[in-house]
Symmetry: C2
Subunit: 187 residues, 2 copies
């Protein structure tokens, strides 16, 4: 599975052969057939890894309603940070899942949890009622996923290593939450 | 170039042969060598298409300083809409550029224009001074690019065709600008 994840994250599934995966894993050529049925079965097993527990922490953070503006702010900062960390930790599997756009139950669960969280905060009078949670539910994921998917490009252009530079991640999460809560306009 | 763009947008460059491109284009096998030197030369020519004029309109919209909050709001809505349209129009080339993460001068130009625009609006007292433009410069591109890159997935999950559904795009642009300007919190 490790060898498959590495190869599938670098190239299209179609361009990676069973022979190559077994070679990289140092196993016999029919082990994939034996354990996973086929190359596609191995792919499913790899993607399923991302689904099990990747977003456990951010999902739990979104389950409890926010009690105040300060709570909302602290909570969203943690949601950004833990989602980014989860995506960095499972970078290869995430890249494969995004590429084949299959079985993205974790991402859907995140969207749904975020929409419910915002709807709760609207009900509680913390968040503006004119907001359209459905239309902005992807914002955090768009931001986080692209920090991981384009990490090499960010390194080349800005010289910043997202995975290694904790200070950058913290500043990035804070700036996102600040904008998300207060918007651009001067009050 | 059309045949190459289609094939490169569907699969890794390494998985597409010169013979295949020429076959799809209905030309002789040595035409790529003749006009572009190599497969990589063809790839560069395809990516360069995106760089020339794709973001001309949004870049021009970001050049003039915003005169008021209403102007800022209208301007950002147009920036979202025209950037999204440009990306949809050049979907194949964008997907290739994102995949090979090379020669992304257009995206860098957009980032720089957006940061200058925000810095100008901060100077003019329209936008909060505590904002960190560098940290949020990717927000519009992250949102727009993912609407295009994951269009198939959005169609499968939400049943929405981003390219065809103008009403959805309008609602999406407006919701993004509303959030961007005013934030989540109830005043």
């Amino acid at each position: 599975m490790e060898a498959g994840a590495r190869l599938f994250s670098e190239r299209d599934v179609g361009g990676v052969s069973v022979r190559e995966i077994c070679g990289a894993a140092g196993t016999g050529i029919n082990m994939i057939h034996h354990y996973f049925g086929s190359k596609d079965g191995l792919l499913d097993a790899i993607i399923a890894q991302f689904d099990v527990s990747a977003f456990e922490t951010p999902l739990r953070l979104l389950q409890m309603p926010a009690r105040s503006g300060d709570d909302l702010s602290a909570r969203l900062e943690l949601v950004f940070a833990t989602t980014l960390e989860a995506c960095l930790r499972q970078r290869e599997v995430l890249l494969i899942a995004l590429r084949v756009q299959r079985n993205m139950a974790t991402l859907i669960a995140f969207h749904e949890a975020f929409v419910s969280f915002l709807e709760g905060a609207i009900e509680d009078g913390l968040v503006r009622r004119t907001l359209d949670p459905e239309m902005i539910s992807g914002l955090i994921l768009d931001r986080v996923i692209n920090q991981v998917a384009y990490a090499d490009w960010i390194k080349n252009v800005k010289g910043i290593d997202v995975a290694e530079d904790e200070a950058y991640r913290q500043r990035w999460c804070r700036a996102n939450v600040d904008l998300l809560l207060h918007g651009l306009l001067k009050p």
